[in-house]
């Protein structure tokens, strides 16, 4: 039986890697998740027959408890996952990720408690957790516990922030200094666990790690959340891998470490796309502490355009590039935009979608939102692929995006956005910006593009403006 179980874990691990590999191409992505899902089902089923479980004194009770826990946890996740709106996807991923981190941390807790019980059988009282578990298992187990717990409480804060339930960016004065002390205390108690076998030490350790996760995440600005979610995803993977070593489970080690390294790279890619370093995300925040950004040098007049004229301009264009931002998704305008795209296509206009790496709330989030509206993925272009094409573009339609098309990121060294790669919308013949009002973007930085000679502003709600454009184009046919 042991042989069959180990072989099943190996197959599951292979399915995970193949699944993730297939998920890296849009053509095979769907198949990829099904494969990985198959691996997960296989691994879960064979675990019921694991000798550790069937050989336990409490096997009967424990197996019933396992089934109940899977039914409740899985049932809740199934229902919530099915009904969550695509715009709310990032916080849902954060939530499930936090659950994984919590699971890794609680696995470590069970192991540590068992070790404490075992050590208490020694009448001299000199047995430590390291003696019971062995140095390697104890170290990786405790490390996994720290990482998993931070990922758990941090992810829940990330979820609450993205879901609009928590708006504070400060809990205490001198938060960073407090964080440093909590971090040092957590590590101190982690070391103490290793050299002792005391229940209270373990409890305080977990409490500190929970608080640390909260304190780290609260000051992070909303725009930086994708980086944090991705980081916690990588951390959970790492914690799972470490606890896999503690349990001697190869599938957990492989899956956890693969996710840990893939997630770290993804975090780095995201941070680079936003022109931040990962450390910077934690210790500063464009959205939080730079409220006094100056809007120097971009004074001028915004030129307004009516939907009628904008429609005509687009209908007779040779190429239109649509630049959507999170504002489009908030206004639920993506379906209208797709309708407009189809109309323009019928007129013989070439339409492309240009996606900035950080459009939406996570890299690729905007692609998901467009895909939901029915936009095929081969009309959607990454920043690097589209930027050279803007000079051949008659109309660049900016909807709900701001900072990602701000040319001062290229020209103005004093701008907080300076150095961030942007979509070169300003190079096209005409720029039409659909915008609710005259305010600044998420970062609070003025956008000189809006005052440029070739830019026209179409003020109004995204969905309404898109409907008007559709109407205008229809009247021409």
């Amino acid at each position: 039986m042991e042989m069959i179980i180990q072989a099943s874990y190996l197959i599951a691990a292979a399915f995970f890697i193949l699944g993730l590999k297939q998920m890296s191409s849009p053509v095979t992505a769907r198949r990829g998740i099904v494969w990985a899902g198959g691996g997960m089902v296989l691994a879960t089923l064979v675990t019921f027959a694991a000798p550790e479980i069937t050989g336990s004194e409490q096997a009967g009770t424990n197996i019933v408890l396992i089934v109940i826990a899977i039914a409740i946890g899985g049932g809740y996740a199934w229902v919530s996952g099915k009904k969550v709106a695509m715009t709310d996807m990032p916080q849902m991923i954060a939530m499930y990720n936090g659950m994984g981190g919590g699971a890794a941390a609680t696995i470590a807790a069970v192991e540590l408690l068992k070790a404490v019980t075992e050590a208490s059988h020694d009448p001299t009282g000199n047995t430590t957790i390291a003696d019971v578990l062995g140095a390697d298992v104890a170290i990786l187990g405790i490390l996994g516990a720290i990482i998993g717990t931070i990922s758990f409480s941090g992810s829940i804060i990330a979820w609450a922030k993205l879901d609009g339930r928590l708006n504070r960016s400060k809990l205490l004065p001198a938060q960073h200094i407090v964080n440093a002390f909590v971090a040092i205390a957590t590590v101190g108690f982690a070391v103490a666990i290793y050299f002792s076998a005391d229940l209270n030490t373990i409890i305080i350790f977990y409490a500190l790690a929970l608080v640390l996760g909260i304190f780290i995440t609260v000051p992070v600005g909303g725009a930086d959340m994708p980086v944090i979610i991705s980081l916690f995803n990588a951390l959970t993977g790492l914690a799972v891998g470490f606890e896999g070593y503690v349990l001697g489970n190869a599938a957990m080690i492989i899956a956890g470490i693969v996710v840990g390294s893939a997630g770290s790279l993804l975090t780095q890619l995201m941070a680079v796309a936003m022109n931040r370093s990962v450390a910077n995300v934690f210790f500063a925040g464009v959205g939080t502490d730079s409220g006094a950004v100056t809007g120097d040098g971009s004074e001028g007049i915004m030129k307004e355009i009516q939907a009628q004229d904008a429609g005509i301009l687009m209908a007779f264009a040779s190429q239109v590039v649509i630049i959507p931002g999170y504002g489009m998704a908030v206004a639920q305008a993506q379906h209208k935009i797709w309708e407009l795209t189809q109309l323009l296509n019928e007129q013989g206009v070439s339409v492309k979608f240009a996606i900035h790496p950080v459009a939406g709330r996570m890299p690729g989030h905007m692609n998901v939102l467009l895909a939901e509206a029915g936009v095929p993925y081969d009309m959607i272009y990454d920043m690097d692929d589209i930027n050279a094409d803007f000079k051949n573009t008659t109309v660049a339609l900016v909807i709900g995006a701001n900072d990602v098309v701000n040319p001062s990121a290229k020209t103005d060294t004093s701008s907080p956005l300076y150095g961030m790669p942007i979509l070169d919308a300003f190079k096209s013949d005409n720029v039409i910006v659909i915008k609710r009002g005259r305010g600044t973007g998420f970062s609070g930085v003025e956008n000189p593009l809006f005052f440029a000679d070739n830019t026209k502003m179409l003020f109004g709600d995204g969905q309404k403006a898109a409907s008007q454009l559709i109407q205008a184009v229809k009247e021409l046919t």
């Binding site: 826990a69 899977i70 946890g73 993804l266 692609n367 895909a371 081969d378």
Partner: protein
Amino acid sequence: MIEGLAALYIFMLAGFTGFEIISRVPVILHTPLMSGSNFVHGIVLVGAMVALGIAEDTTQQIIGFIAVLLGAGNAVGGYVVTERMLEMFKPSKKKEGSEG
């Protein structure tokens, strides 16, 4: 059974594998892939089952129960949202509008 150097080899090779998988992925798939990798570490469910399975007293059973609860949430939730996102990706040759 998986100890010392052998474990180090697994850690190293798995690390490189993860790096390779993500380094060639288009931005369009970053969110689904993050969600997919989030699902993959749902394998923690298996470890949680073992942790609850070897529990000896009530405290350990309660903690183990929470572990399985959270692990199952990670695995099932991760699968459902990833599948929903990937379901929508389709090339332009096909007819649009099968969205329910």
